[in-house]
Subunit: 454 residues, 2 copies
């Protein structure tokens, strides 16, 4: 029996999380399936940001460091995020970027490993991990004479047998495929093998239940502007298992990590606990927007919290997969994301395995030196890119990620944020996809990669 | 002949920069002498920030990375800052915090020095440098087996004779005293001695003319939220002399520093030039406010630019010094900031050498563990702290910095931002100071340090 639009409306009608959508201000003509890249704007954000700018900065000026609690904001927002990732209060800081936080966490893990398990000097990660994680690890390894080893997901168990392995660094939910690791099982296996584990929660925090304490993870970092809806480039976060937090300095030993930052002593004395994972002054306006974003996820707590969001997220992605397979059959789409719930994040990725005929080349080539990110060759890439563009033109916003020519195909990527997406939205998105494919409108020149200059 | 209020009004009337004050929205009851800590709010900031939040984030969502130029913002704002510090386009990036940028710059300087002058492993800095600079250097030295040597300003020339000296790291204008170094002369002397020089422009950028290119400096970092008026915790900046920019990776090798960030390749390839000094995604809302702030300083360009701002700044600080000495004589105030123009930044610091009688102890002690930054003992500290509090209660906002008990006294610190301060403001500020001292109102219990909990 096939699913109908009426079925989707019925699902919306009985959705216990339905009211949370009103926490967001999303353009009426948009179905936003890119919250995994940049979360939508909370309705509270404009007024709160205006208050920070006009009152806290403009009127109260320097006094707001105390009166508006600016100095404590990274800890305060960190504690709010902690509730979403199975972390205790006082173990998480909202600060800096994910890349900078990963540098702190990996550096600390290196120091702890070198001290407790000397002779281990390898970091293992996934080849298809988000590149910035690999770059940060690569630079650290280069600096320390360590080695970064990249493996496929199915090779992780084998990699743990390496007695030179010091650190396993993984992203919980893969940014391309949406595949999710079993955090508890992998952490346990890595510990049994004598390694520390650093988790990147960029596509997990606010998207899937995470239990860092329960998994006894070592370090974690994550992103503020994806499922936490914190706004463009919102500060990221870092969590450290309390048993590690005071074992070493992290190398970005700035004054916000000092035990007595306003004593202005010339020597560094790290603050107790997670506070030493701060470095310099934080961008308060962006941090205020992040607090609004985190509040939208915390608003689900009385309705069942992350478990309820997860149930709806799986229902949405199940529905999307079923509808694509029912209604877009015959167009060469394949599911890249795992079908198994336990292995799926909150996004669905499709590849297009039948490469449609290339559209006629029109217009000028992009200028020499223009960003080439959207123009990597790959099987079906022309189609995947153009289909995403055609959907965006219809107000269905997903994104395209180029393949790597080494087993990872070009993909159409669709994120499903249960806070603001409904079941009829999924129906409508798939209808647009079906129409784009059936009409061939994706072959229009304006959707061709040759037209993309950025 | 003493200066009168009428004289000050006459100076305002003929001030060619007078109109720039209208670029700011400062409370009418406030004389703001703390722009060296947090610059005042540009009148353009609320609308621009609202546009980023409501339109770019809320309506255009993920598309704004391209359509609103988010991805290029750090380079764009960096190029704007470059015009204020004697730097060429394409050599400055607005990004991260000052501390994080200093880590990048110092790390790169270490690498370059180790390669070109092996056997040098000392970093020299000033004992009264802003502490975060010392902490970052201390942590790097600890990591690399280097040594950080702290000296007094008059010992720098001697320190350059040390043949183990690799890097001289100085803040151009001292955060406590307002004393300014001769950047060109010191850089030249350090180069002659075989050392690289890293300058911190936190109290210089937008405050005094800086000519990094002319001085042939090696690296520089600076702050966005002081004289650049970028808002609380605004992103900072980093400049690298083009002859060094491509000589090494900096260790925070995040994806924004990659040559092709959207190619998502697993290996790091640093971008050409200063772009490799980026790391992760930047906070766009705060960055937009920074652009508004930088624009207020650039608005002086048609009126003579930094040279004109400097003339007015010196006239303001000269006036403040003269009026304090004329009108507050006999209250034990001493000038800490150098009187000589070439050695003075855009602030004036006073110490109070005659310790007034301690006020009666009233009220409860601060809670155990409360921040103690405002409560360090020092000669005259009770007086300095309480006088600043009494001035703030009158709307004259300066700040207090505790002494270190090692030759640096407690100080009353007053910053003078020529963009929004006039000569009559200076008159009024000194009148308030005179009244606070003559009336003894600073001795009221509410101004006592014991009442400060943060």
């Amino acid at each position: 029996m096939t699913t109908t639009r009426q079925d989707c409306r019925a699902l919306d009608a009985k959705d216990p999380l339905r009211a949370l959508r009103d926490l967001f201000d999303i353009p009426a003509d948009t179905i936003y399936l890119d919250g995994n890249s940049l979360g939508a704007m909370p309705r509270s954000a404009p007024a709160r940001v205006a208050e920070v700018v006009t009152r806290e900065w403009g009127r109260d000026l320097i006094r707001s460091w105390n009166s508006a609690g600016w100095f404590e904001m990274p800890r305060k927002v960190g504690d709010q995020i902690a509730r979403l990732i199975g972390a205790a209060p006082g173990t998480t800081i909202a600060t800096d970027s994910t890349s900078v936080n990963l540098f702190k966490a990996l550096s600390a893990a290196q120091r702890i490993s070198a001290e407790t398990r000397p002779g281990r000097w390898r970091i293992v990660s996934e080849r298809s991990n988000f590149p910035t994680d690999l770059y940060i690890a690569e630079a650290l390894c280069k600096d320390k004479g360590w080695e970064l080893v990249l493996v496929e997901p199915h090779e992780i168990a084998e990699a743990l047998k390496d007695e030179k392995l010091a650190i396993l660094m993984l992203t919980h939910v893969n940014y391309r495929t949406g595949a999710m690791h079993d955090m508890a099982a992998i952490t346990q296996a890595a510990h049994a093998a004598g390694a520390l584990v650093v988790w990147d929660l960029a596509h997990s925090a606010g998207a899937v239940p995470v239990d860092l304490s329960g998994a006894d993870a070592d370090f974690a970092v994550g992103c503020g502007y994806k499922y936490l809806n914190g706004g463009p480039g919102a500060p990221a976060f870092v969590w450290v298992n309390p048993r590690h937090a005071e074992r070493c300095w992290q190398p970005l030993a700035g004054w916000w990590g000092h035990d007595k930052p306003f004593a202005f002593t010339p020597d560094y004395q790290p603050a107790p606990g997670i506070v030493r994972y701060q470095c310099g002054t934080q961008p308060m306006i962006s941090l205020a927007a992040l607090e609004c974003g985190v509040a939208t996820v915390l608003a689900a707590e009385p309705l069942g919290g992350m478990a309820a969001l997860r149930r709806k997220s799986l229902a949405l992605t199940d529905l999307f997969i079923a509808l694509v397979e029912e209604r877009c059959a015959g167009h060469g789409l394949s599911l890249v994301t795992p079908r198994e719930h336990a292995r799926r994040g909150s996004q669905v990725c499709l590849s297009i395995t039948v490469s449609p005929p290339a559209p006629p080349l029109r217009g000028s080539l992009p200028p020499e030196g223009a960003p080439t990110g959207l123009g990597r060759p790959g099987a079906g890439g022309e189609g995947a890119y153009a289909i995403v563009q055609a959907l965006i033109a219809r107000g269905v916003i997903g994104d395209y990620r180029a393949g790597d020519g080494a087993g990872h195909p070009d993909i159409l990527r669709f994120g499903f944020t249960p806070l603001y997406l409904g079941f009829e939205d999924v129906w409508n998105a798939v209808e647009h996809l079906r129409e784009v494919l059936q009409s061939g409108e994706w072959q229009r020149p304006e959707f061709n990669r040759q037209h993309a200059v950025t």
